[in-house]
């Protein structure tokens, strides 16, 4: 039932989640540069030191 449905052309196109995701972004007038926040290679730029798992700063 499920695989037959997924191959049915009537359910292609505008029903795909990728279309819905892009529509949501346009609805809110947003323009994210990336589809996903993924960085190249593990970098410690989030300031974690000494095995701590949280790096927090006060906003002044």
């Amino acid at each position: 039932f499920s695989s037959a449905l997924l191959l049915d052309p009537r359910f292609a196109g505008s029903h795909f989640p990728s279309v819905h995701a892009e529509k949501l972004i346009r609805q809110l007038n947003l323009s994210p540069k990336e589809d996903l926040n993924v960085v190249k290679g593990g970098d410690g730029s989030s300031g974690l030191a000494g095995g701590k798992r949280i790096a927090e700063r006060k906003l002044r």
Binding site: F11, H15, Q27, N29, L36, N37, I54, E56, L59
Partner: protein, 428 residues
Amino acid sequence: FPNFGVGSGFSVDDLGHHAGYYKLDHSHDARLFYFFFESRNSKNDPIVIWLTGGPGCSSELAMFYENGPFAIADNMTLVWNEHGWDKASNLLYVDQPVGTGFSYTSDRRDIRHNEDGVSNDLYDFLQAFFAEHPEFAKNDFYITGESYAGHYIPAFAARVHRGNKAKEGIHINLKGFAIGNGLTDPAIQYKAYTDYALDMGIIKQAQYNRINKIVPVCETAIKLCGTDGTLSCMASYFVCNTIFSSIMALAGDTNYYDIRKKCEGSLCYDFSNMEKFLSQKSVREALGVGDIDFVSCSPTVYQAMLVDWMRNLEVGIPTLLEDGIKLLVYAGEYDLICNWLGNSRWVHAMEWSGKKKFVDSSEVTFEVDGVEAGVLKSYGPLSFMKVHDAGHMVPMDQPKASLEMLKQWTQGKLSTTATEEENSVAEM
């Protein structure tokens, strides 16, 4: 924050505002970004975490446009939100799931596909957060959120409750969870679309009859999806969304987040100032995010949750109610996509010891400054509120009412202060 028009009696030195990264325990290389705003009222106020939906949209959307401490003015300065939820709580925002907002990974295997992944990440985060802030560990703790967070929230509440029972780590003083215009029980809520659309004059009877022919197929597909289906869950997503898209094909440019409004082309709201503000060097330095991207809404995270979409998250709620954990379900009356009718129906249908008393309880009016702001039904730990003059984003449309709702609910006064009105309206 720089660019901050302080005013209102606060010195810029110590606003009790924090931002940070948490290196996610059970991940390959993921980090969750969060904001923490200490209460403007008292340190003893409850800790409230807010989860934004999408799925895959950043918490900053709600922070700046709904219930956060401040809003963004057009000249890129911040101004206090007079009805920010940090006036009654110590407020946490987390960019989640991984890959959303400032939260990032270097390994795509960290992308989450279901509520187990999401709720475990949030539980791990809480453990680290309360280790960093032991002074807040004893405060009452509430989980809140909106839209697709109707999936995250019950799963996260159940995970916290399970961790407490198993003494897994720091005890989290979970007192309740609140879902605003959420998607929690798809079978009931998708079936309600045509009824709501007919009631609100969006479709006519003949169109209602035609579209309703899809409902049984959708219900069957959701049953097949169940709690662990994959392909069947994808199929139910396609089938059931045909109901919604059939309605929208008739609704023209109606804004389905608020049917009182229209969308201009595909533009329904303008949240672009948020991206502009967060791209400023001074702001990024203040937050300590360096040149990490900001992904306001992530299409990849959205699609990764495809298999999760049609899952029923109501199933875990009765156990929490029986253990005295409070649930508030609220919905703005003009939202179509997560409408109050579908939410009311699954709340009334829940099987728990107080079901009959809740169903038989009278509707009472929820008043703010002597004006009716909503209609409320309560019994024991369960409350349902239809919020007047609001769409999908209740804190944005009714900031004062939503802050008052949070205050009364967390203080256990929500049902007692509302005005009794003997008009027991039969549930439609």
